[in-house]
Symmetry: C2
Subunit: 147 residues, 2 copies
DNA sequence: AAAATCCCTATAGTGGCTATAGGGTCAAGC
DNA sequence: GCTTGACCCTATAGCCACTATAGGGATTTT
């Protein structure tokens, strides 16, 4: 079973360029090539791609995924690190949810300051945005993805 | 009252380079310059920066902020657009929270598949990551910031 | 006068892709 | 054999909101 990059993309629900990007980033090994220099993939790589895509759908960064793949590639190791990584990731997600809920409170409070169709200079929202002194800290969330 | 970029940064809780970046992006007008070519800011710009930073702390993108600043600069306009932008932003935040809560469910379910210190090849989590066929769609969240 | 602190411009890097330019390969149909 | 079209290749630039770096000049303090 040898498939080309287009079929791998189709099977794993991503773009062709994304696969090449993962290869460049070292998440996928360099594949075999056809006589015409096309990338050729086997069952192994399909599994690996599914693994990566599933991790991405769980919002893991490529760095986190790289760590998991390294463990995956040395199967006799203790899986405690897998658990730790996942726990850490869950905590990140929870922190992000907390931050966003705080944010929503601020936004809805702000929104209530203007209900009508006044001229902008009288709009309570813009006034609120200038004068409010609260500086909430929302956690950074750099590794998000859609699948 | 004429302050230099360092003090403006201090007063608005951001880096000097960030202010220059906002200027380059057209959110701040080009300021006056001292004889030694230093940027000089007045009360007006401090307010404008506070506005921008507060919007950022509410996770608005620079594009959204640009829109608000344009309204801000033409104060006789109807403020309905301000309300609409904020409503839209609130919806974005709510959607992101929803997506993250779904994510957390998946992550905790996955986490329960392994409790111990087994070799990686027997780890339920990695198995779950390979075999699970669910492909949840998490919304993209490109405009996040910390203040 | 020297050192420390501020400021300047310009450029490259971050993550996880997406988009574009400019080509090569291969199977099917005429 | 020749064209069409679908697929593939590499290399490069762009997205966002910064951050970091290099290499210098201005001002203030010692």
């Amino acid at each position: 079973m040898e498939i080309r990059i287009g079929e791998l993309a189709q099977r794993t629900g991503c773009e062709v360029v994304t696969i090449r990007y993962y290869e460049k980033e070292g998440l996928l090994p360099e594949p075999a090539r056809s006589s015409g220099n096309y990338r050729l993939y086997g069952e192994e790589q399909v599994k690996r791609m599914q693994f990566i895509r599933h991790c991405r759908s769980l919002d893991m960064s490529l760095g986190e995924i790289r760590t998991l793949l390294n463990l995956w590639d040395s199967p006799t190791q203790d899986c405690g690190k897998v658990n730790a990584l996942l726990d850490d990731h869950i905590r990140q997600v929870e922190a992000r949810v907390e931050a966003l809920l705080q944010l929503r409170l601020h936004l809805t409070a702000l929104r209530e300051k203007c209900a009508g169709a006044r001229p902008v200079e009288a709009c309570g929202i813009l006034q609120g945005l200038v004068n409010c002194s609260c500086h909430t800290v929302s956690t950074r969330d750099e590794a998000s993805a859609g699948v």
